[in-house]
Subunit: 254 residues, 2 copies
DNA sequence: CGTGAACTTGAGATTTCTCAAGCGGGGTGG
DNA sequence: CCACCCCGCTTGAGAAATCTCAAGTTCACG
């Protein structure tokens, strides 16, 4: 269960069993928090980072007058506040569902990253992939229609959930409300609602009562101009590993 | 001259002279390229990263049909393709002016980052700061008006140029055309033009013939809802020092 | 002095927003 | 067990922001 982070890291970078063990050893007492709770608050000088073991969450920046921009959706296995290891965090993280979260000492994590190249590399890749996802969102918000933007977002979340085995039969739990989707896409709630209706009417998805069913993946990807390349979590230098899915060689959650 | 990268890294992380020397030692033969040249092309499996020693450049992602989204502006001292050290790059970089660029072996840079914690930390911070800037752009594109977005962009570029001493008397060279600005803000060229006229009419800026003069910094910052905190001028207390939390609030000329 | 890129301007077309209201289901107190 | 309430969703319609198309105009540069 708490092997989620390791599995996630290991997806892109081969980790030896002792690497996994070293990371696990840093995890503090698991905390369970309800939905709609702020897990990470910026500018709080926290001493711990947070690993999301279970549940879903999102990063957001909220302006003084209440406008909110969601900048990332988290799936299990994500480190919610990697920046905190070396800087301050500039965003908040809130839970979408009940979540299980484990703290990791920021100082110890920094030490581990610096002491073990393989682990360091794994975190570098995780961090750089986040940045790549952010860039893709920028393309969406700057240059794609509302329709494509929402479709793209659905594709991304769906695919990332798929990677952590949270999709069965093209169907997954989907605690992201239309308001969240709107705040992520930079749209109003009303317009987001209309766009979703179009997606439904086109037979691409079903979405209701916190569940998403993708009826036509190719159609949805086309609607969203979704090219999964930017998620392609493969390491360039050591193309030793195969397929995009599965595999965390050398380490299995115990 | 080629100390630019070191100066840039050292701005946030104390580097010892030997660290600087180690980095310098990796720099390859400096290349001079004209304006409007692609410096970095995604998916090319390059073996070298690129340091921008002089000149200005921008990162962009261009869609098949020609729509373009600029995702970052570079100033001297920037590493143009840090992601390449550990992954593939997912964007292109093009020059805005004539540029001087030095190659750095990706493998050697990776080794150096892993071998020297202080250097590694410096690159981590650089990378995380980029990510923070990207998030701020997301907020702009998703939740700010065209007017605020453009003003914010001007503030950011201006301030980053200031840090590398490219501003004198509130005045700097500004090779970013209205079309670039439009592609960065996610606006049409026409609308960007109109927004700039408003900014000029409000007495906030002068902008013509590739030069920007900020006439009213506070006014411009207010128009752009610009809070420099996200640029993280200062490093968070390093875990080793374990000082009380002191988030770098907007820097103030003291 | 010619040329092209960058910048301006005008005006109608679209997308997206805002306001306002109504619907629906699940959770809760009575 | 039922009524009520709240949140998330839906719908309608006018308003606003932004876009596109289509011409000019300016200016650096050869």
């Amino acid at each position: 269960m708490s092997g989620r982070l390791i599995a996630n890291l290991g997806r892109n970078t081969p980790l030896a069993p002792e690497d996994g063990a070293a990371i696990e050893a840093l995890l503090g007492a698991v905390r369970t928090v309800p939905a709609d709770t702020e897990l990470v608050v910026d500018g709080e000088g926290a001493t711990d980072c947070h690993v999301l073991l279970e549940g879903q969450a999102f990063r957001h920046k909220t302006l003084p007058d209440g406008r909110r921009q969601i900048v990332f959706f988290h799936v299990p296995g994500d480190l919610l506040d990697l920046p905190l290891v070396f800087l301050d965090v500039d965003y908040n993280v809130a839970s979408l569902t009940m979540c299980r979260v484990a703290p990791v000492s920021r100082a110890k994590l920094a030490d581990l990253i610096e002491a073990r190249p393989r682990i360091g590399r794994a975190f570098w890749r995780m961090s750089l992939q986040e940045a790549a996802i952010q860039r893709e969102w920028m393309v969406g918000m700057g240059r794609r229609s509302a329709y494509a933007r929402v479709a793209h977002l659905l594709c991304e979340v769906f695919q990332r959930l798929q990677r952590v085995d949270l999709v069965q039969n093209n169907r997954c739990r989907f605690p992201i409300t239309q308001t969240h989707l709107a705040d992520a896409a930079g749209l109003s709630g009303v317009h987001t609602n209309r766009v979703l209706q179009q997606l439904r009417a086109s037979g691409l998805i079903e979405l209701r009562s916190r569940e998403l069913i993708v009826r036509d993946w190719n159609g949805l990807a086309a609607a969203g101009e979704f090219d999964p390349a930017y998620l392609q979590a493969r390491s360039a230098p050591s193309p030793a590993l195969a397929g995009p899915h599965r595999a965390a060689p050398g380490w299995k959650p115990s």
